[in-house]
Symmetry: C2
């Protein structure tokens, strides 16, 4: 399992529209192969800042499966115009703390 | 419930020691009032970068309860010397996607 992390900065005056569009986009990502779970969280200290956390079975499920899909075109058209700057996406693997 | 997020940059050559110390530190944070869960995840694209995600019942459980505790002195002495630069910690609240 891997964790996709994106810090999202939304343009001024657009946070309500962004959250509304994200609800629609949630149905898209949730239907993808290898998808496990996702959370959108809003920053308490900085206005218009969010973090998106998505768990995938493998890195390729995100980078090849999702990004190479027809569904990704719809995801992009719903969300990408809200961001400034355009976000960097990173992937993480859990450290075993046991 | 709130999410604490810290992006951690660990000094060169110290990642093994950091992960070892973090296992000890995990027992400290897990015993605090208001603690729900935590994950330490290692970045796949950038060496020596981690993300710490901690779920707390309230913001004050982290900022006042944990940071004001005796246990936090031990947490600091276990972990803070590994970081360069010293991390910024932010708090997030889940956006309702239903």
């Amino acid at each position: 399992m891997i964790l996709e992390v994106a810090i999202l900065q939304v343009k001024a005056g657009m946070t309500d529209d962004f959250e509304h569009s994200f609800k629609k986009a949630s149905a898209i990502i949730s239907s993808m192969k290898g998808y496990i779970s996702h959370e959108l969280q809003k920053c308490m200290e900085e206005d218009r800042k969010y973090i998106l956390l998505v768990k995938w079975e493998t890195l390729q499920d995100h980078t090849e499966g999702f990004r190479g899909s027809e569904a990704y075109l719809e995801w992009k058209s719903l969300l990408h115009h809200f961001y400034d700057p355009f976000p960097t996406v990173e992937h993480y693997e859990a450290v075993d703390l046991s």
